[in-house]
C-alpha cells in the first residue's frame, strides 16, 4: 500500500536528524569575526606575514643569473598545478646564495626574511588572514579553446580573445590570471575546484603593449604539464579568469579564496639551475600544521607560493614570481588531525634569470 503524503512526512519526521553541533556554530562565529580584519586590509597594508630569520649557508648558486635563455611563455604545471610566471622579474646578476629559511605563521601565509640581510633578526607583523578577496579584471574573455601554435604539439595551446571593457589600459602591472582545467562536462565555479591550475599573465609577452580600452587581443598560452595525451594535446577543458592586482574587502570581492586553517613554516628554499640553463627548479621544504579544531584534508589545500623583492608584497603584485601547487600525490590522502603536522616538499620551475635566493618566499594555503 502506498503511504500518503502525511505518512511520508511522519516517517521523515522520525528519521535520525543530522545534528548541527554547537562547536561548529562556534567555529563559524569565530571565523566570521576574523572577516573584518580582512575587510580592512589591502594586503600591502595589513596582510599577515611573520618574518623570521632566514639562515644563509653561503653556498653560491653559480651561473643562475647568467643563463641566457628565457623560458618564454612555456612553464610547467609541475604536478598539474604550479607555474612560473610568464616572465619572472629580472634580477641583477648577482650571486644567489643557496638558502634555507626558517619562518612561521599563524595563518596560512608565511614569509621568510631575505637571506644575508636579516640574520638573527626576528620580527613579526600582523596576525591572520581569513582569505583573499579579488576583483575581476575589466576584461571580457572570449571562448577559451584548445588550439595550435608555432612551436609545440597540435592542440597544446590555450587560446582566446580578450576585450578590454574598462576605461584603463590592461597590462601585467594591474592584472593577473589563472588558467585551470576541468574534465569535460564538469562545471566548477572556481579554479580551486579544478584538476590543475596555473597563474598566467594577461599579455603574451613583455613587449606586448597594454590592452587599450575597447580593444581586442588574441591571448595564447602553452601550459606544460596540464593534463594531456601522449601526443601532447590537451585533454581537459580550459578555463580562464583574470583579476585585478591588489586585494579587496571580502564584500567587494568577485571571488574570495578562503584561507585554510593551517600554519605553514618554510624550512628551506633551494633553487637549482637546470643543466641546459633554461630554467631552474625551486625546491621548497615546509611544514604544514593544522591549527584548527577539525581535521584538515591535504587534498583540500592549494598552496600559493610567491617570491618577492618586497617582503610585504602579496601574490597579486606585478613583480612577484608566483606558483600554484598542491601536496605531492603520495600526501594527497593524508588527513591532518588538530595540531597534526606534515612536512611537504614542493618543486616549482621558474625562469633561469630569477635570483630566487635573493627574494622573499611566501606560502599561503587556500581551500579547494
Amino acid at each position: 500500500m502506498t503511504p500518503t503524503d502525511e505518512e511520508w512526512r511522519e516517517r521523515f519526521k522520525n528519521m535520525t536528524p543530522v545534528p548541527f553541533p554547537e562547536e561548529l556554530a562556534e567555529k563559524i562565529r569565530q571565523q566570521a569575526k576574523e572577516q573584518p580584519k580582512l575587510a580592512k586590509s589591502r594586503l600591502r597594508e595589513s596582510v599577515s606575514h611573520r618574518i623570521r630569520v632566514w639562515k644563509t649557508t653561503g653556498v653560491a648558486l653559480a651561473g643562475v643569473a647568467v643563463a641566457g635563455v628565457i623560458v618564454a611563455s612555456v612553464f610547467p604545471f609541475g604536478k598539474g598545478a604550479n607555474q612560473a610566471p610568464l616572465h619572472a622579474p629580472l634580477q641583477a646578476p648577482v650571486q644567489g646564495p643557496k638558502s634555507s629559511a626558517s619562518s612561521s605563521a599563524t595563518s596560512g601565509t608565511t614569509t621568510a626574511t631575505l637571506p644575508g640581510t636579516a640574520q638573527n633578526q626576528t620580527s613579526s607583523m600582523a596576525a591572520s588572514v581569513a582569505g583573499f578577496g579579488l576583483q575581476a579584471a575589466k576584461l571580457n574573455i572570449g571562448p577559451v579553446q584548445v588550439g595550435s601554435g608555432p612551436t609545440w604539439p597540435t592542440n597544446s595551446y590555450v587560446k582566446t580573445n580578450l576585450t578590454n571593457i574598462g576605461t584603463q589600459p590592461v597590462s601585467n602591472k594591474n592584472t593577473f590570471g589563472i588558467l585551470y582545467f576541468t574534465k569535460p562536462g564538469v562545471n566548477v565555479t572556481s579554479w580551486t575546484q579544478s584538476d590543475s591550475a596555473t597563474f598566467v599573465n594577461v599579455l603574451n609577452s613583455p613587449t606586448q603593449p597594454p590592452i587599450a580600452p575597447s580593444s581586442i587581443v588574441q591571448w595564447s598560452f602553452h601550459p606544460v604539464g596540464a593534463p594531456h595525451a601522449n601526443d601532447g594535446s590537451l585533454t581537459e577543458v580550459p578555463h580562464l579568469a583574470f583579476y585585478q592586482t591588489g586585494l579587496v574587502n571580502a564584500n567587494q570581492a568577485d571571488q574570495f579564496w578562503m584561507s585554510a586553517p593551517v600554519q605553514i613554516q618554510i624550512v628551506s628554499v633551494q633553487p637549482t639551475l637546470w643543466a641546459n640553463h633554461q630554467a631552474q627548479t625551486i625546491s621548497l621544504h615546509m611544514s604544514v600544521t593544522n591549527s584548527s579544531l577539525q581535521s584538515v584534508k591535504m587534498h583540500n589545500l592549494w598552496f600559493i607560493i610567491w617570491f618577492s623583492s618586497n617582503p610585504s608584497a602579496d601574490f597579486t603584485q606585478p613583480n612577484v614570481v608566483r606558483f600554484l601547487d598542491f601536496a605531492p600525490s603520495q600526501q594527497q590522502g593524508a588527513v591532518l588531525t588538530p595540531g597534526g603536522q606534515l612536512m611537504v616538499n614542493l618543486q616549482e620551475v621558474g625562469g633561469a634569470n630569477t635570483n630566487f635566493g635573493a627574494m622573499y618566499p611566501h606560502v599561503a594555503a587556500v581551500l579547494r
Partner: protein, 183 residues
C-alpha cells in the same frame, strides 16, 4: 532585512548567529543528503555560512534566507562531488580510521545515521530524488521553495517527488539497500 549592510558589522555577526541557529539543521541535513558523510557535511555547512556571511551584500532578498542558504548548500555540495577531492575519497578512507579516537562523538553520530533505515534508503537513491525528498518531507519546504533552491521548475520538483517516493517505497520494501556508487 536590509541588503546593503556590510558583513563586517556587529549586526551582521548577530544576523549570522541567527542564521546558524535557525537554519543550521536545514543546511547540515541537506549537505549530508548529498555527501553521505557527517564530517564533510560539517565542512560544507561551515563553508556555506561563511560564504553567506561574506556575500551578504549580494543577497537581494528576493528569496527567503532559508532557500538562499540551502541553494548555496546544494551548489557547494555539487561542486564538491564534482571535485578532485570527491573522486579521491576512497584513498582517504583508510586514513580516517586513525581519526576515530579523536572524533568519537562524530563517529557515533555517523553510526546512528548509518543505522537509520530511512536514511539508508534515501541515500541509496540518485541525488535528484533524494534532494527533493529531504527538502520536502524532512525540511518541510514547499515545491516552489525547492524549485528555488535547486534552480529548477516546480513541475520538475513534483515529478521528481513522485518518482522519488516510488523508488523509496521500493527500497524500503526490499529491506536491504545498496548505495549508488555514482552518488
Amino acid at each position: 532585512m536590509k541588503n546593503d549592510e556590510t558583513a563586517s558589522s556587529q549586526p551582521a555577526l548577530a544576523l549570522l548567529d541567527s542564521w546558524v541557529r535557525d537554519y543550521g539543521p536545514d543546511v547540515i541535513n541537506l549537505a549530508y543528503t548529498y555527501l553521505r558523510n557527517y564530517h564533510l557535511a560539517q565542512d560544507v555547512s561551515q563553508d556555506v555560512f561563511l560564504r553567506a556571511y561574506t556575500h551578504y551584500a549580494s543577497f537581494r532578498g528576493d528569496s527567503s534566507v532559508k532557500t538562499w542558504l540551502l541553494s548555496i548548500t546544494a551548489n557547494r555540495c555539487r561542486d564538491y562531488l564534482r571535485s578532485w577531492a570527491s573522486r579521491h575519497e576512497v584513498m582517504e578512507e583508510g586514513i580516517l580510521d586513525y581519526e576515530a579516537a579523536d572524533f568519537s562523538t562524530e563517529h557515533e553520530v555517523e553510526e546512528q545515521l548509518q543505522r537509520d533505515a530511512l536514511w539508508a534508503a534515501v541515500q541509496s537513491l540518485p541525488i535528484k530524488y533524494r534532494e527533493v525528498l529531504i527538502l520536502y518531507y524532512q525540511r518541510g519546504l514547499s515545491g516552489q521553495e525547492i524549485a528555488e533552491v535547486l534552480n529548477t521548475s516546480e513541475q520538475n520538483v513534483r515529478t521528481r517527488l513522485h518518482r522519488g517516493r516510488q523508488l523509496l517505497k521500493g527500497k524500503l520494501e526490499e529491506g536491504g539497500v545498496t548505495h549508488d556508487t555514482n552518488r
